[in-house]
Amino acid sequence: MRDVRDALMVARNTDGKLIRRPLSPHLQVYRWPVSMALSIAHRVTGVGLGVGTMLLTWWLVAAAVSDEAFSGVQWFLATPIGLLVLLGWTVALFFHFFAGLRHLVWDAGHGFEQPWYDRSAWAVVIATGVATLLLWITGLAVW
């Protein structure tokens, strides 16, 4: 046993005999309840938003540097690819925002009981759609 974490895989049964702890089955075994999909999506959007912070940094740094640099960012964001990046970014942000609120409610000790566990999951999906739609309608109206 070279790795300390390996020690956690070994235990004694009630007879005092050393056994290997059973491993839980992996992803492909389970059906896909909405909560599982949301949990995975929360991680994926979190990582995606991490990449998105580079866009925020580019925008702020360009604004601080020069007129040309800033009009460069603004030009890119208005191209079809830029708009697609922004759309993905807003969907990810709203999803992570609402799913994060659901996590905070759990952290306070509420919302684990059915039917609220599944209902809050669907509420996150609907709120993400509605908020994204509202933001883009406002944005395109302003533009």
């Binding site: 046993m1 300390v4 020690a7 056994i19 991680r43 979190g46 580079m54 702020l60 601080a64 933001l135």
Partner: protein
């Protein structure tokens, strides 16, 4: 490895308590989790403010950004948003890396890389906001 599946064995001469004291949440383990919650709570109003601000910056020129950043409020809120965002980001990515990367060198290396990059990006944002606002 801890022996074969049929015949497991423990050859680390350290008590479970001794292991727990050096690992996990025995000392400051809750601090990481707690900071992630604090930054997420801070980011609720900050994100809503940021989105409203960014909608007004659609198609903006650099002069528009400069005049927006002329007041102290956008400068303070933007810096607060940047700090909370990048702290939350490096805390979250650290957990993701710890969950999926089992190789020690790769895990520690990628966590350091994430933390270093987050810090540099955050500093670049803060310096830019100060340059615009001061």
């Amino acid at each position: 490895m801890a022996g074969s599946p049929k015949n497991p064995q423990i050859d680390i001469l350290r008590s479970p308590l001794g292991r727990a004291r050096g690992l996990g949440s025995a000392r400051a383990g809750a601090a990481h989790w707690w900071m992630q919650r604090i930054t997420s709570i801070a980011l609720v109003p900050l994100t809503l403010w940021f989105l409203c601000a960014m909608v007004r910056m659609i198609g903006a020129t650099r002069d528009d950004v400069v005049s927006w950043m002329a007041g102290p409020l956008p400068v303070v809120l933007m810096i607060a948003l940047v700090i909370a965002t990048f702290h939350h980001l490096q805390a979250g990515l650290q957990v993701v890396i710890e969950d999926y990367v089992t190789n020690d060198a790769l895990r520690i290396g990628s966590i350091l890389l994430v933390k270093g990059l987050s810090l540099l990006l955050a500093l670049a944002c803060i310096v830019s906001v100060l340059k615009l606002g001061l």
